[in-house]
């Protein structure tokens, strides 16, 4: 299996504290050697290399390239280092893509696919704290559009995210603080598996004020760094939901969940939908349900049912959808 490795962005540097700690990733076991706490990215790269896997490392900060490149030269073929920023993957600009922005097809040329499972590539990385939410949205967008890295199959993402984001991704309807559009879209789109939780106190940083740049969270617990595996659902796309109209689905979910206590029928009616009551009955959704109480799967079913109605073909709806995409991609 090939691993694509993403280094986290500066200024956030994490390193493991001393004494050996064993992280048990499911199906993976990495004994960490007890080195003195060494500062610098590459710790996970080295860990993976030590376990014998082939790694393509994507490093966004030019200052750390030489280190990795010397490592690359010392191994023979097991490690490939690319100067690039995963979080600037496939930017929406015309012309040649200048590093550190990266083009996904060039990237994947370097990876060798294995044909054993239909999960050709596993991605490993730490999401930069400040851009966590944004990155998750971008990943979801490209997942639903089946573009960028997801063009090559159901790429599995193993990412380190903060606990509060994990809580949001796995929130259930009715959890007013956590359940939001992101939750619905992630649960519809992927299988979410928690691999490991590591308390923040295990980390030290080299930031000046000795604190971690971890965002404070008022409503959700945020004491851990969580390793979460996101595997795109095999049956995400169907008759109704296709990569070509997924943007509309995303838009619909976002609009509905902007105010979780609003009634679903009110939303549908305000979009000039005819006989929303009948539609909901056919789907066995209670007529006075609030948007924040509807299950993710029901959103998908609702969307598929609405394909037959005229709502989404209204031009103004379409324009709104287009405009909403713009904000994520630019």
């Amino acid at each position: 299996m090939s691993y694509l490795f993403i280094e986290s962005a500066i200024p956030q540097l994490l390193c493991w504290k001393s004494h050996s700690r064993e992280i048990d990733f499911k199906n993976m076991y990495f004994p960490l050697p007890p080195p003195p706490p060494f500062i610098g990215p590459g710790i996970l790269t080295r860990t993976l290399l030590n376990a014998g896997v082939r790694v393509v490392a994507l490093e966004s900060h030019s200052a750390f390239l030489p280190n990795l490149q010397s490592l690359e030269n010392s191994l023979d073929g097991q490690l490939k280092v690319i100067y690039g920023d995963f979080f600037r993957l496939d930017p929406l600009v015309t012309g040649t893509v200048k590093p550190p922005a990266v083009c996904s097809d060039k990237l994947f040329e370097l990876l060798l696919h294995t044909i054993e499972t239909d999960v050709p590539v596993k991605i490993f990385g730490i999401l930069p704290q400040k851009k966590e939410r944004n990155t998750l949205w971008r990943l979801l967008f490209i997942l639903y559009e089946c573009s960028s890295i997801f063009r090559y199959g159901r790429v599995e993402l193993n990412i380190f995210i903060s606990e509060k984001e994990y809580k949001v991704l796995t929130a259930k309807p009715g959890e007013s603080r956590a359940y939001q559009a992101l939750s619905v879209l992630c649960q519809v789109g992927c299988e979410i598996q928690l691999l490991h939780m590591e308390p923040w106190s295990s980390f030290v940083t080299n930031l000046k004020n000795k604190g971690l740049a971890v965002s404070k969270s008022m409503w959700l617990p945020n004491d851990h760094l969580c390793l979460v595996r996101l595997t795109p659902q095999r049956d995400l796309f169907s008759e109704g939901l296709k990569p070509t109209n997924s943007a509309t689905f995303i838009f619909m979910v976002k609009q509905c969940l902007a105010k979780r206590k609003s009634r679903l029928t009110d939303r549908l009616n305000s979009w000039s939908l005819d006989n929303s009551g009948q539609l909901l009955k056919a789907l066995e959704i209670p007529a006075d349900v609030e948007t924040g109480n509807l299950y993710p799967e029901d959103y998908k079913r609702l969307f598929e049912a609405l394909q037959n109605s005229s709502v989404f073909t209204e031009s103004w709806f379409h324009d709104e959808v287009l405009e909403s995409i713009r904000n994520i991609n630019l």
Binding site: T94, W200, G211, L212, P221, N269, L322, E323
Partner: protein, 1152 residues
């Protein structure tokens, strides 16, 4: 709520906890403790700490932004107590809920309440009282009072008393009633003359522990007068009044009366004191400011300039203006060319008319139904009910307002909060107008105005009064006094928004359009015209209301040619009412604030009310003078602009093209979902551009249409100011502060002959407008103008068909207008006698830095901003660029790589923006970004060095400025530091300008209130309460620029007043002064004189003294270390340099 867990055994690994984690834990526990505290109080009914929020639908949400500035260390140092108390809290909190004792070492036998109280205090700075709750309480108090006022206005004393009783009857809720609330209800009964009911309310007031105030007595006497009470009762009342320490005279000096209230009270008093005479009007006071001694002294007789109208004419204009304001809105013709009506347009108009009629009916029905429902539930409702507000105006007026919003909605939609605010404000404005009419205030204003204009009219007598003085004199003579002013009845901002949201919901739900309006083959189902959608720009969701494309299409097909505005948007047709107090002036009926503020912040109004009114006289006089300047339209230029506007517009000339010129997206076949990303992107860009073009076009349309509407008139712009004293005209769309196009259409209504040097000034002004020859002396500019006279005349004679020299200048339209003026003057028989209406401008060069240099007496700095006389104008930007280049050379010689890379790239352009914004307190971070942008624009500059170069340059620019303006940076630093310490001590920064205007910085930690509605939750930010903590960062960063702005506005006002005294016409656009060509020299002299006078005052010393007195008074606990630090900081006024200020008098290029 937090997790329920044992504090002694955290589930984290026992590795050494980092400081941050500790802090987070602490904060979680403190929050938890607070929640527990609230619960325990509710449970045990202890009222020591905090207040129970009774039945509130409006939630107060503290602003919780998840930004972390980990400052664990400094806080711990300053308050070592703080660390311990959370642990005590833990114990206390748990001991309340759990029976089991806590680990040893923590005292937990005391009752929870006391310890919790400690926690609360220890967390905060000692001087900031914990008053978070009372912000909410204050809003509720205001809301209740507004409700009661509505009921008073609706003449429903029964209802008012019921509402009062609802709150009075519960000891908890009673806190929400102020004495004002009781007074209002008493007044309601007083209006009916019902003494019996009046007394009931009076006893309620007394049982609440309050004493009647002066207003209460006024109401009592009114009631007695109207109800024809017997002598004994009145006599007892007057005795009571005296016993409470009041005097009968005070009733007429301090209370505000409406309608016939004053006469009724007088009648009542005369029953027991038949010989009672009204107290004489207070003598007019004279301002004692040192700067204005010469101005206000009555020793020299002065005659102020008159307008070129007779009294009769002015009276007629007043009538016209009044009529316009009474109608609330005005409909004018749009300038868009009358294209021949196509059948399509005719059909669309018919459809639209029919639909609009239907909609009016639907909205009316919905409104009436809603009101009916509300009135059924009235017995239950408290202050939350909007019912009184929906009864203030006739139903049709609400419908009018809602239809107006619908008709002016742009196709791009508008945010819900903006629409709600507009709706709420419109209702409020009409309510105020109605009150003014009912209270007969309008009659009185009319009466006074008829006499007032004698001051301004050319055929009338007095000339030696200032407008304000004369108005006050007339008011005193008529005996109107305080009855010319309405009692303050402003609605809290949150209430305004609630009302607006409610009306908006009715609007959105009632207007529908058949689906097949444009496509008859579809079914005719009704769909909503307005839909609500969230937009997720800028990382937050904004609710928008957008019109359905069917409606937008119909409107654009109909191509209607009229525009409707509210009356206060139009320039005034008569001279404005002079400002005589912070509450009264400008428009006849529309309520105008003297000081603009946002979001319902009323700290400014309070400050203005509390300061001695005589201190405000200079500011009021200056505003009056600016407002009294008469304007007219430059018709030839307007016509040319309109012709281009109606053709294809011209982006280069700043005339927005019509939408037909918008870029068309490429036509791609197939289903939209199959499009490539880049195609979608292009489509989006086209849409974005179209939206921008539309809004620019509409802006210009309004402006030009208004200008066209008044093209044959003379009009005035009343002025008011912002919180720093900078002045602005009130009508927003069209005024002389606008862009090049707007300014070119305006002329002074009054003309003056050019005189011997006027023509020269016109020519110099022309060259100034072109932007050429900025570095040349005045003589050289004059010579240049004479050189290119051919071009000037060609532009004037054949603007669109000739060589069009004027189009390639910085300000093409003003250049054109000036060319035409020069051409006319030259061709007249005697140019010196040619009557010119043209405003000539004199600009300060980098005015902010000029003030800084004067404050600090920086010699080098003063030279570079033209405070020193010099034969050519100095350009501070080039000077700084030169200084930076010197630094660079030195560094490059020493081998610094980045300095070598930058060789040849350091230009004026690169440093200009940064130098400009230094005055505004630009930081290194912001400055670096600016420079990076400039360097990026240079193609030859290597990109890989961008970041490093901009860092280096910003350092050098700041160093350069420090070299040249060393005292300036010191002063800035001193101001910033002082502000920081003041804000950290929990107070806001205040100061008084040398002219006497009190200023307060309104930056508080904003409290968001969440309004729940069916459509969306709206978060309303309001900084309405002085009990909140000041926003330290904003307070400190904004103080230096605000201070300098207040100085430059003082300078402007001083210049204005002295120009007025000498009979000049004078208006200003902040640091750009305008007058007739004839009087430019006089204005220049006065401008310099006043600058020297202003800065000859010990401005910084006075500021330091004021602040020491205010923030470090010995009465406060002066032992605290922060207090000492503040005192030290404030006393430490920076030293000044060697520059001799009087040199400014001879500096030609100071303002040029």
């Amino acid at each position: 709520m937090g997790r329920q867990q044992e504090p002694a055994a955290p589930r984290q690994s026992p590795a050494q906890p980092s400081g941050w984690v500790e802090k987070l834990k602490r904060e979680m526990y403190v929050r938890q403790a607070k929640v527990e505290r609230k619960l325990s109080i509710a449970a045990s009914k202890m009222t020591l700490v905090g207040q129970a929020n009774a039945k509130v639908k409006v939630k107060a949400v503290p602003k919780a932004k998840a930004k972390v500035k980990v400052k664990a260390v400094p806080k711990a140092k300053a308050k070592p107590k703080a660390k311990k108390s959370p642990k005590e809290t833990k114990a206390a909190a748990w001991s309340q809920g759990h029976a089991s004792p806590r680990p040893a070492g923590l005292a937990c036998s005391k009752p929870g309440v006391v310890e919790v109280k400690q926690v609360v205090k220890a967390q905060k700075h000692p001087n900031v009282p914990e008053k978070r709750e009372s912000n909410h309480q204050k809003i509720m108090q205001q809301t209740i009072q507004s409700n009661l006022e509505c009921l008073l206005c609706l003449q429903q004393p029964e209802e008012a008393e019921r509402l009062l009783l609802l709150y009075h009857s519960s000891p908890m809720k009673r806190k929400l009633l102020t004495i004002g609330a009781y007074n209002i209800v008493m007044r309601s009964w007083a209006r009916k003359g019902c003494l019996h009911r009046f007394n009931r309310v009076l006893s309620m007031l007394e049982s609440a522990g309050l004493r009647p105030n002066l207003d209460s007595y006024a109401a009592a006497l009114e009631c007695m007068g109207r109800g024809q009470a017997c002598t004994k009762i009145i006599w007892r009342c007057v005795q009571q009044l005296k016993q409470d320490g009041f005097h009968v005279d005070e009733l007429f000096q301090k209370c505000l009366f409406e309608g016939d209230e004053k006469e009724t009270v007088l009648r009542a008093i005369r029953i027991v004191q038949p010989d009672y005479q009204l107290p004489p009007a207070p003598k007019p006071q004279t301002c004692k400011s040192a700067l204005l001694n010469g101005f206000y002294s009555k020793e020299k007789v002065v005659s102020y300039p008159k307008l070129d109208f007779s009294a009769q004419e002015l009276r007629e204009r007043f009538q016209q203006q009044l009529e316009m304001e009474l109608n609330s809105t005005i409909t004018i013709q749009s300038v868009e060319s009358t294209k021949p009506l196509t059948p399509q347009a005719l059909r669309a108009r018919k459809q639209l008319a029919a639909l609009r009629a239907q909609w009016r009916g639907a909205i009316l029905q919905a409104l009436q139904k809603a009101k009916h429902n509300m009135s059924q539930k009235r017995a239950m409702s408290g202050y939350n009910s909007l019912y009184p507000y929906l009864c203030l105006l006739p139903d049709e007026e609400y419908v009018d307002i809602m239809m107006q919003i619908l008709n002016t909605l742009s196709p791009q939609g508008e945010s819900l909060s903006v629409l709600a605010r507009e709706l709420g404000s419109k209702v409020y404005d009409r309510y105020l107008t109605q009150r003014k009419l009912r209270s007969r205030q309008l009659e009185k204003v009319q009466e006074i105005y008829q006499d007032y204009i004698h001051l301004l009219a050319k055929d009338s007598q007095p000339g030696e009064y200032l407008p304000r003085e004369y108005w006050e004199k007339l008011v005193a003579e008529a005996g109107y006094g305080p009855s010319l002013r309405l009692k303050d009845c402003s609605w809290p901002y949150v209430l305004l928004m609630r009302l607006g949201v409610y009306l908006l919901e009715i609007l959105v739900h009632s207007v529908k359009v058949p689906r097949n309006t444009l496509k008859p083959h579809l079914e005719s189902r009704l769909i909503p015209v307005l839909y609500h959608i969230y937009s997720f720009r800028s990382s937050w969701q904004v609710g928008l209301i957008k019109p359905h494309p069917i409606f937008s299409q119909l409107v654009s097909d109909a191509a209607e040619t009229t525009l409707t505005f509210s009356s206060s948007v139009m320039p005034m047709l008569c001279p404005p009412i002079p400002w005589t107090s912070p509450h009264f002036g400008a428009f006849v009926l529309s309520d105008t604030k003297l000081m603009r503020y946002v979001d319902g912040a009323f700290q400014h109004q309070q400050l203005l009310d509390q300061c001695p009114q005589v201190n405000l006289h200079p500011v009021l006089d200056a505003l009056n003078q600016l407002g009294n300047c008469a304007w007219k339209i430059n018709q030839p230029v307007l016509d040319i602009i309109i012709s281009i506007f109606n053709d294809k517009g011209n982006e280069k000339l700043d005339i927005p093209p019509p939408l037909s010129e918008a870029p068309k997206p490429p036509v791609t076949p197939g289903n939209s979902s199959a499009w490539h990303k880049s195609q979608k992107h292009e489509l989006l860009l086209c849409k974005k551009k179209a939206a921008e073009m539309h809004s620019l076009r509409m802006d210009a349309l309004y402006k030009l249409s208004i200008a066209n509407h008044v093209r044959d008139e003379v009009f005035w712009f009343p002025h008011n100011m912002d919180f720093r004293g900078r002045t602005y005209p009130c009508p927003p769309y069209f005024n002389h502060l606008g862009n090049d196009v707007t300014r070119a259409i305006l002329l002074f209504a009054e003309g003056r002959p050019l005189g011997p040097k006027g023509l020269d000034w016109l020519k110099i002004h022309l060259i100034n407008l072109t932007g050429l020859k900025k570095k040349n002396s005045l003589q050289e500019r004059l010579d240049y103008a004479n050189e290119i006279m051919e071009e000037i005349l060609d532009s004037a004679d054949r603007p669109l068909t000739g060589r069009k020299w004027w189009m390639n200048t910085d300000e093409p339209w003003q250049v054109l207008a000036c060319c035409m003026e020069i051409a006319q003057a030259l061709r007249s028989p005697d140019p010196a006698a040619f009557v010119s209406h043209f405003p000539v401008h004199q600009d300060g060069s980098c005015n902010g830095l000029q003030h800084y240099a004067a404050l600090g007496r920086d010699l080098i700095g003063a030279i570079s901003v033209n405070l020193m006389p010099c034969s050519v104008p100095q350009d501070v930007y080039s000077a700084v660029a030169q200084q930076v280049e010197e630094f660079r050379k030195k560094d490059a010689a020493e081998g610094l790589k980045i300095a070598q890379v930058l060789e040849g790239f350091i230009s004026r352009k690169v440093v200009k923006q940064t130098v400009m914004t230094v005055v505004y307190g630009v930081t290194r971070y912001g400055g670096r970004l600016q420079i990076e942008k400039r360097l990026k624009e240079i193609d030859e500059f290597p990109e890989e060095y961008l970041w490093e170069a901009s860092h280096y340059l910003v350092r050098q620019v700041f160093n350069g400025i420090k070299e040249m303006f060393s005292a300036t940076r010191d002063i800035q630093h001193w101001l910033t530091e002082s502000a920081k310490l003041i804000a950290q001590s929990g107070q806001t920064v205040e100061w008084v300008t040398p002219m006497g205007l009190p200023i307060v910085q309104p930056y508080y930690r904003v409290r968001s209130t969440v309004l729940n509605s069916n459509m969306q939750n709206l978060s309303v930010k309001s900084s309405a309460n002085t009990n909140q903590k000041p926003d330290t960062v904003k307070q400190k960063n904004a103080f230096p620029p605000n201070f300098i702005h207040s100085l430059d506005s003082t300078h402007m006002m001083l210049t204005a007043l002295h120009c007025f005294r000498q009979g000049l016409t004078f208006v200003s656009v902040h640091d750009c002064y305008w007058t007739h060509a004839l009087t430019v020299d006089v204005m220049n002299q006065i401008c310099r004189q006043q600058f020297v006078a202003l800065h000859s005052q010990k401005i910084l010393q006075d500021l330091s003294k004021f602040m020491l007195k205010k923030y470090c008074s010995p009465s406060k606990d002066s032992r605290a270390p922060w207090q000492k630090k503040l005192t030290e900081q404030l006393s430490n006024v920076p030293e000044t340099g060697e520059f001799n200020l009087t040199k400014v008098m001879d500096s030609t290029y100071f303002f040029s």
